[in-house]
């Protein structure tokens, strides 16, 4: 092992460096300088994201505990970009509400730690590394959910989150130990060779799966989602719904396609049922929501159901469509959450009713919100359409037409509630419409980046082609 091979961990090392710099900043800055942490952290993360576009070789470290390849590396960069957009969108909230309480640096440290956790989680080469990554992803977020300490609902959300995720982690750990019991190894590669379809292995898989399903908020492990999103600050909810969910989906895919491939006849059916349950439950609950955070929480549950469609095709096609959709979904959801954040910090309003007449006072924001929601609903020429259609293609390629049919029915249901928001913004007029406001610079930048992603990622096909070209790197 030499220094060069350490560079395989470049993304992780970059994040660690940012964390250290932030801590140093926190120690040496006086009270007046605290606000400067915002541009400082943003610039650092931006640099890290840009560096992520440099090519990197694949390889393994620590005897196979850590591994990386082009697909994982691409995905990490995407996550980094997502977090950058998210932080841009939260910069003003931080400046106004958090800096005074002297907690801004902590916020960055916690979020970047969690991001680091997702990196390790998806790069894991064995269950130990995976579990550490999972916990590192989860724990800082629990602190973040409670960031509005003065709000009761925020504290409640945090408690719910930490307790349920403890349960989920426990289940996952139990599952891992059962798997270890049947195979005697925790390394993915060797387990993939040994694992056979025994009852114990299946039971282990089920427990393990439930732990991850919790992170992705798949039915019936989704109950925490709405309460936690509602209690958490908007950007934290946004983080939960895009970054941590996206990372969990990708690691689930990797494990199912490699380690658990021998169990495929079993997990195939489980996933089949879970997809249907998740889509229906997410959609049916979303219809009723008035609070936009809860609304987006359920919408993101339903979206998770769609993502899993890609798992039905255990090949390059499935992999590509999942990674592509997650990337697209990150942009779309960040767009929607960004608008909610902008409106909330200008007027403290978070309900759909409050958005009535928004187009007439804030046309650009409403337009972006519409684009983001239509992208989530899967309407061309926005990126979400391509993402969804390719997921259908993946499932249909294996002949799961009935499943695709159920999915398209759900897509129509979801269109209904997305249209409810559009209706409020565009069709309705209101005397108490939220008055015009101009979002600050960072917010606008964050929103514009999301909008570009929504508009470009679909029509511009080389992005998909690129993912396809690298997505065979872990399938042997």
């Amino acid at each position: 092992m030499n220094l060069e091979s350490f560079l395989l961990m470049r993304s992780e090392i970059g994040l660690l460096a940012i964390l250290l710099l932030l801590i140093i900043f926190e120690i040496f800055s006086n009270k007046k300088q605290k606000a400067a942490v915002i541009p400082f952290a943003l610039i650092l993360l931006a640099i890290n994201t840009v560096l992520g576009f440099l090519p990197l070789e694949s390889g393994e470290l620590f005897g196979g505990m850590f591994r990386t390849n082009a697909l994982l590396y691409f995905f990490k960069t995407t996550l980094s970009l997502g977090v950058l957009i998210l932080l841009l969108q939260s910069a003003d909230w931080l400046k106004e509400k958090v800096v005074d309480e002297n907690k801004a640096t902590e916020f960055f440290i916690l979020i970047i730690s969690s991001l680091l956790g997702t990196y390790f989680m998806i790069s894991a080469g064995d269950f130990l590394m995976f579990y550490i990554g999972l916990e590192l992803t989860t724990l800082p977020v629990a602190a973040l959910v409670a960031y509005d300490t003065y709000k009761r609902i925020s504290a409640e959300g945090a408690v719910k989150y930490i307790l349920s995720s403890a349960l989920a982690s426990g289940a996952a750990l139990f599952g891992i130990s059962l798997l270890y019991a049947t195979t005697g190894t925790i390394y993915f590669e060797s387990m993939a060779e040994i694992l056979a379809s025994s009852n114990l292995a299946i039971l282990g898989f089920i427990f393990f799966f439930s732990g991850l399903a919790f992170k992705i908020s798949l039915a019936p492990f989704h109950f925490w989602t709405a309460d936690v999103y509602e209690g958490a600050p908007i950007n934290v909810a946004s983080y939960l719904s895009v970054i941590s969910k996206g990372a969990a989906v990708v690691i689930l895919m990797i494990l199912l396609f490699t380690v658990f491939k021998p169990l495929m006849p079993v997990w195939n059916k489980i996933i089949y049922i879970v997809i249907i349950a998740t889509m229906f439950i997410g959609n049916l609950f979303a219809i009723r929501q008035q609070n936009l955070k809860r609304f987006l929480a359920y919408s993101s549950i339903a979206q998770a159901g769609f993502i899993l469609l890609g798992l039905m095709s255990v090949d390059q096609l499935g992999t590509t469509t999942i990674v592509y959709f997650v990337a697209v979904y990150i942009f779309s959801n960040l767009g929607a959450f960004g608008v909610v954040q902008a409106v909330s910090s200008a007027s403290d309003k978070e309900n759909i009713n409050d958005y009535e007449g928004l187009y007439r006072t804030n046309p650009k924001l409403s337009l972006l919100m519409m684009l983001a929601l239509f992208s989530l609903a899967g309407i061309p020429p926005l990126a979400g359409f391509f993402g969804k259609f390719f997921l259908y293609t993946a499932a249909a390629s294996q002949g799961y037409y009935i499943l695709v049919f159920i999915a398209v029915v759900n897509a129509t249901i979801s269109l209904y509630y997305y249209l409810l928001v559009v209706r409020a913004m565009f069709l309705r007029q209101s005397d108490q419409a939220i008055p015009y406001f101009k979002s600050p610079f960072y917010m606008r930048l964050g929103l514009i980046l999301a909008a570009i992603g929504i508009l470009v990622a679909g029509v511009y096909s080389p992005i998909y082609d690129y993912i396809f070209s690298i997505s065979n790197t872990f399938l042997n």
Binding site: F374, P380, F385, T393, S461
Partner: protein, 315 residues
């Protein structure tokens, strides 16, 4: 730039021009009139160009062009026209020009009205020129969604409900259609060729009869809803009644024809055996629709309703 792609690009340019330059009603409609005028001139030009080209070109489609879009799926942006599509394009541009004139004095959010109307037109034009299933489907959905705003904002009566009903039914139909399209796509290699979305390549393939029987109704229903065939017509009467006049016109004149065009060009052309096996069922259904539409029209009071029912019974 080729003669056909302009039909998609010009509306997009007009939409951009409207977005960035139009300040008020006068400017918005000026830009729209000029834009739609150009569009109209283009379609006239297309007719002549088509007649000229037809004389020397004996292919099914003329002015064809093919650009690879998504290589891994073999999705192409491939376009071309035959006589039917030329007629439909000309018809659409006439109706659109008339629609702009009819909406001359629209006072609420004029700019947005014209943007939606013209965005819709790019979808319709794109639909008629596409010879690739996927591209066609994309344009189809682009044509549907602006309808929600057009009816919801500028409509009359119970416009919100009508708009919602219309959008959900049409998008639901297109969702069903997407399953049909995927089914066709994954059976397009039945003769050993590559998977393809290209309509004319698929037409050469003998898709297995079992698959045709399954996917024909899906495809048919997908288009039947926008064609407002019985019993999938219920969006149409309320949609027509609530829609602003220009939209109502566009609906009856163009959008509903889109369904018929789709049925012929996709469902019946690509799945002939399925069409034959299902023909009795759908014939009875449409015969019933003719009579049914006539009776429904007798009962309805609102003239726009009557028109809608009349168009239902016509299809």
């Amino acid at each position: 730039m080729d003669i056909l792609s302009l039909f998609v690009i010009v509306p997009v340019l007009i939409v951009l021009a409207l977005t960035f330059f139009a300040k008020d009603l006068k400017q918005a409609r000026l830009i729209s009139v000029v834009g739609m005028g150009i569009q109209f001139a283009m379609s006239i030009n297309l007719i002549f160009a088509y007649l000229k080209e037809r004389a020397v070109n004996t292919g099914i489609m003329v002015f064809t062009k093919d650009v690879v879009w998504y290589e891994t799926f073999n999705i192409h942006y491939s376009i071309g026209v035959d006589a039917i599509s030329v007629v439909m394009i000309a018809l659409t541009s006439v109706v659109l020009l008339a629609g702009v004139f009819i909406s001359w004095k629209i006072d609420d959010l004029p700019k947005e009205f014209f943007i939606s109307l013209i965005a819709l037109s790019s979808g319709v034009f794109g639909f008629f020129i596409s010879t690739d299933l996927f591209t066609m489907f994309v344009f189809y959905e682009i044509a549907v969604i602006p309808m929600y705003l057009l009816i919801g904002i500028w409509g009359s009566g119970p416009k919100e409900n009508s708009a919602m009903k219309l959008t959900l039914m049409l998008m639901g139909a297109s969702a069903v259609l997407s399953v049909g399209i995927l089914g066709i796509y994954f059976n397009s290699n039945a003769d050993g060729g590559p998977l393809t979305f290209n309509i004319f390549e698929i037409a050469q393939v003998n898709i297995p009869e079992a698959a045709q029987n399954i996917f024909f109704p899906l495809t048919f229903i997908g288009f039947a809803v926008i064609g407002a065939l019985f019993p999938f017509h219920t969006w149409s009467p309320s949609g027509h009644a609530s829609a602003p006049t220009a939209v109502s016109m566009l609906h009856a004149g163009v959008l509903m024809k889109l369904g018929g065009y789709g049925v012929f060009r996709i469902a019946m052309y690509l799945l002939p055996v399925g069409a034959l096996n299902w023909s009795d069922f759908f014939l009875v259904l449409s015969a019933f629709g003719v009579i049914y539409g006539a009776f429904g029209a007798v009962m309805q009071k609102d003239l726009k309703y009557v028109n809608a029912y009349a168009s239902v019974s016509h299809l």
